[in-house]
């Protein structure tokens, strides 16, 4: 994969949401979309050098929209019914739409529910085939405490994002063994103190 480089990385947790300044409509998004948008934000300056229709989005959401589904289901008997706004986020890929709208990215997109270990290789394939000139890769790990009870897992609320492009100059040359996105993000950030959080 030595022709593909990571140009930017970032990682966020739920605590970062408190200081997020992403506009008036940010509050309506579900937790997955909020974390994904916040993680992608520091990557945005790199989008300006490429045509927006040539930038793809590849995302993995470990537990799909389960946390949002549980929240929606909880309100099923409420007067007036559950929130229509929340309903729009009971789709695992909804974060892709939010990223695409905010950054006006109209390239191909792909959403994996489950592990993120195929995201980077899929994005690299797009780049090598010249389907895209850049690719935003996002991994969201969102399992709220009520959802964690359902699937007997540990709660988590993190997201990390990388921006890949063809070339030789970047923070890191992508290799076949680079599969764990969070591990790679942490590694690149530790080696590049100037990287955004």
């Amino acid at each position: 994969m030595n022709d593909i480089v990571v140009l930017a990385v970032s990682g966020v947790t739920r605590s970062d949401l408190a200081s997020a300044q992403l506009g008036g409509r940010f509050g309506r998004l579900d937790l997955i979309s909020q974390l994904a948008l916040l993680a992608v934000e520091p990557l945005a300056p790199h989008f300006d050098s490429l045509p927006r229709e040539r930038i793809g989005i590849c995302i993995a959401v470990r537990a799909g929209s389960l946390s949002t589904d549980v929240e929606y289901w909880k309100d099923r008997d409420a007067t007036g019914g559950p929130s229509p706004m929340l309903f729009t986020y009971t789709l695992p890929s909804s974060a892709i739409g939010e990223i695409a709208i905010r950054h006006r990215l109209t390239g191909p997109n792909l959403c994996f529910v489950g592990s993120d270990d195929i995201v980077l290789s899929e994005a690299a394939d797009w780049l090598r085939r010249a389907d895209v000139d850049g690719c935003v890769c996002v991994s969201c790990d969102v399992v709220t405490p009520p959802a964690a009870e359902v699937i007997q897992e540990t709660p988590a609320t993190t997201a990390c994002a990388l921006f890949l492009a063809r070339g030789s100059n970047g923070l890191h040359a992508l290799r076949e063994i680079d599969r764990d996105m969070k591990l790679l993000c942490d590694k690149i950030r530790s080696q590049n103190p100037a990287c955004p959080k």
């Binding site: 008036g24 509050g27 309506r28 409420a78 007067t79 007036g80 019914g81 229509p84 706004m85 729009t88």
Partner: protein, 86 residues
């Protein structure tokens, strides 16, 4: 008791989870949708749910609610006219 415009604006902000906006920033007669507050069709549905939850007003046909959603003042008038007696 009649609903005040300030109270209604606060309810709109709360139910639509609008950030960086306070009741005094919503003009009484400014359009809620499109220009003005910039709400969309999902927000309209959310407002329908808000009316039922908070004021016991059921809107079964969106056309029935359309005039009410013109502005904050129109919505307050609609609520005050349709609100079930306590």
């Amino acid at each position: 008791m009649e609903i005040s415009l300030t109270e209604l604006k606060a309810k709109i902000i709360e139910s639509l989870k609008l950030q960086d906006i306070t009741p005094d920033k919503i003009a009484d007669d400014a359009p809620l949708f499109g220009e003005g507050l910039g709400l969309d069709s999902i927000d309209a549905l959310e407002l329908v749910v808000m009316l039922e939850k908070n004021y016991g007003i059921v809107i079964k046909d969106i056309e029935e609610g359309r005039p009410a959603f013109r502005s904050a003042r129109a919505l307050a008038d609609f609520i005050n006219a349709r609100r079930p007696a306590a």
